[in-house]
């Protein structure tokens, strides 16, 4: 039996580019997440300080991590789409 995906994907000229920016964006998020965990472990009392609109650092950082994930995801998608479109346009231009 052939070992192929459930649906054919075809070659992806942007795969390497997407993998590279994916890794960098993952590392950026991992650093922000690691700082959050480190504050909890090393300076837990900082987390109860009010920092924005009456919210403490724990809430702002927690919500911030969720929002940051979505923002990064949208930026990543935009960069991938642009690169994929450029790659599609390039052969046609030739």
């Amino acid at each position: 039996m052939l070992h192929e995906p459930a649906s054919q994907c075809g070659p992806d000229a942007s795969a390497e580019y997407k993998q590279n920016i994916g890794v960098w964006m993952f590392l950026l998020y991992a650093v922000v997440y690691a700082i959050f965990v480190a504050i909890n472990l090393l300076r837990p009392l900082w987390m109860e300080k009010t920092v924005f609109m009456g919210l403490n650092l724990a809430m702002v950082y927690g919500f911030g991590l969720i929002v940051f994930a979505l923002v990064e995801a949208l930026i990543y998608n935009h960069m991938c789409r642009t690169h994929e479109a450029d790659n599609k346009a390039a052969p046609e231009a030739k």
Partner: protein
């Protein structure tokens, strides 16, 4: 009405399943919905898959009882999607066919990888199934008034019907509908919580009269405790506190003693007594359908104020959190203490008032200010949550239901948006449940549905039906993943039985039936076990067994088949091994947790690096052999 809405929902789910059954003939259709699901539908279905009983029931319950520590689960679970999106989504889609084993094995065609990955898929799926089934029992018990085991069997039967009829297509649409409804109705509940505002005398919108717990003054005379109008029967020390048994008018009651500034106060508690003859008392009277424990929670003070003038009226979302974070806001929680009173077994639910600033930062559940071991345990949990998502088999198989790698990426982004929004809502639902005094003192798993009930029967019925569908959907996804591991990875690819498409689908359905039966049995066996505990275990096992293999196959060219197989086995065995000898499991086995050989509950901090290390070492040791073999 609750039952009618619930049954309508189940009937709709089954109808959808039978409709798609007529269309599903091929293995690709059964295991991967033909790879033709729209990315937006798949994204919401991802949310449906992911927002399991642990998220909806477990996290809301944990936030209600432990404050911000419950929200840490939300943060960790969501962060895990970053790994899924940036590292795993597109490569997994390009490499795989039906299962995650396919992706790992795409380069090597190794029997070792097939066997190890299939077993890992089965193990993680089964661990993940247990809390879902337990959650189903917990949910159905009060809704339909049937025993826990009957609830578990009912869920199992429905899920087996769904999975064994149409596979991934119906599962996807069930998840899509459920995921969308979950987010929408959770938002409605949160808006209602903010609109109602905060009060120190919560009466659930006039549905349940506010109950003020009494405090008695006591004195010591000649070494004995004296309480006006009461007869003191016993004083029982437990966990550095003393519980006092009083009697008045023939009714025996239990009180928590509090010594402060030379004065003795006795605080009213709730309690259950199991008599030696098997009878049961609740709050001093025989247990009946009417005489049950009162719902707990509420606010003792709002920014230092009490009584009617403390009520806020409707509040904004930031204001709500800000008020609850104030040190002068006091939140009523409780602790569960087990006592022996002669031959009677007493369970006391004693008041424990938490200041807002402590409730709204880490520390109540996870001892971030504790010993180095406790800190390491917290670090280990956060690591497993971060790395576990992208290694869950029932999440990974969803990448094969969309037509392209770009669609896999886009559906992940939709999932992040929906799941992230839902996790923000968990904070409001959890805190909403505690401030409205809508908590069941025995189990916090019902916090979100009970909060909905404070806004009327309709919302309660809808939320309960969604919670039930949450369990149905997640269990369906897990059983599909497990049946794929058996029918596709083990029978077709490992044993090379040479099945036709039709035979593969039949094998998958039989496997789904068997796994479903196993899930029912385990769901009954593990009754009363904390829902989030086993989910945490599944995350740790998935992160340890699967993630190192996925990452290294994508990023390290020297990775070998033997390295992958060894890494999966090492991660799986070490993670399960550490958990089995952890304090929590010792406690569950009825042993002293302090004697547990492993001081950590969360294994990830050791088992994940160990799995990576084994993969690297074994790959380096097997380089030449594989190169020669390839030549």
């Amino acid at each position: 009405m609750a039952i009618a809405i619930f049954l309508t929902f189940v009937a709709a789910v089954l109808g959808l399943s039978f409709y798609f059954a007529a269309k599903t003939k091929s293995a690709s259709g059964y295991f991967a919905a033909g790879g033709q699901i729209h990315w937006a539908v798949n994204g919401i279905a991802f949310a449906g898959d992911y927002l399991s009983a642990a998220s909806f029931l477990g996290i809301c319950g944990m936030i209600a009882t432990s404050g911000y520590d419950g929200f840490l689960y939300s943060i960790g679970y969501l962060a895990g999607w970053i790994v899924a999106l940036f590292v795993v989504a597109e490569p997994m889609k390009r490499l795989g066919k039906y299962t995650f084993t396919d992706a790992l094995d795409a380069k090597f065609n190794s029997r070792g990888i097939k066997l190890a990955a299939a077993i890992s898929t089965l193990v993680v799926s089964v661990f993940y199934l247990i809390p879902q089934m337990v959650g189903a029992g917990v949910l159905v018990e009060p809704l339909l008034g049937i025993p826990h085991y009957a609830g578990v069997i009912m869920v199992g039967a429905i899920v087996i019907t769904i999975v064994a009829t149409a596979g991934m297509t119906s599962t996807t649409y069930v998840q899509f509908i459920k995921g969308a409804m979950l987010v929408v109705f959770s938002f409605v509940v949160c808006v209602a919580v903010l609109y109602r505002g905060l009060s120190t005398e919560p009466d659930q919108g006039g549905r349940v009269p506010f109950y003020k717990y009494a405090t008695l003054e006591a004195k010591e005379a000649k070494g004995a405790l004296v309480v006006k109008d009461y007869k003191v029967l016993a004083s029982v020390p437990a966990k550095a506190e003393t519980y006092v048994k009083l009697e008045k008018g023939g009714v025996e009651t239990w009180w928590l003693r509090s010594d402060r500034d030379g004065k003795i106060a006795l605080k009213e508690t709730q309690y259950e007594v199991k008599k030696a003859d098997g009878s049961k008392l609740v709050n001093g009277l025989p247990a009946t359908k009417e005489n049950i424990l009162r719902q707990n929670g509420g606010l003792e003070a709002i920014k230092g104020k009490t009584g009617p003038e403390a009520a806020t009226g409707k509040v904004g979302p930031f204001e709500f959190l800000s008020i609850l974070s104030d040190p002068e806001t006091k939140i009523n929680t409780w602790k569960i203490v087990k006592l022996s009173d002669g031959e009677d077994k007493v369970t006391v639910y004693a008041p424990s008032i938490k200041p807002g600033n402590k409730m709204m930062r880490p520390g109540l559940k996870f001892k971030v200010e504790g010993t180095p071991i406790q800190k390491l345990d917290f670090l280990s949990l956060m690591l497993a949550l971060f790395l576990g998502t992208a290694a869950l088999p029932h999440i990974l198989i969803r990448y094969y239901t969309v037509p392209s790698a770009a669609c896999a990426r886009k559906s992940t982004i939709v999932a992040i948006a929906a799941i992230g929004f839902f996790y923000v809502l968990t904070m409001y639902m959890g805190l909403g449940a505690v401030v409205n005094a809508a908590l069941n003192p025995v189990t916090d798993n019902m916090s979100a549905p009970l909060l909905a009930r404070t806004f009327g029967t309709f919302l309660f019925a809808v939320i309960s039906a969604i919670a039930f569908a949450t369990v149905l959907g997640t269990v369906s996804g897990l059983i599909i993943a497990a049946s794929g591991a058996v029918a596709h990875d083990l029978m077709d690819r490992y044993m090379q039985l040479g099945h036709t498409e039709k035979q593969k689908v039949r094998a998958g359905k039989i496997a789904a039936f068997v796994v479903g039966i196993i899930a029912i049995m385990l769901g009954i066996l593990f009754q009363g076990m904390n829902v989030s505990f086993l989910v945490g275990l599944a995350f740790a096992v998935a992160a340890s067994a699967n993630l190192p293999a996925i990452i290294m196959i994508l990023f390290w060219k020297k990775t070998t088949a033997k390295g992958i197989a060894a890494s999966i086995v090492t991660g799986m065995v070490s993670a399960i091994g550490i958990i089995m000898f952890s304090p929590s499991m010792y406690d569950k086995f009825g042993l002293d947790p302090l004697t547990a050989p492993v001081p950590l509950d969360n294994p990830g901090i050791f088992s994940i690096p160990l799995s990576f290390l084994v993969l690297v070492v074994v790959s380096l040791l097997t380089q030449k052999k594989e190169e020669k073999a390839a030549a």
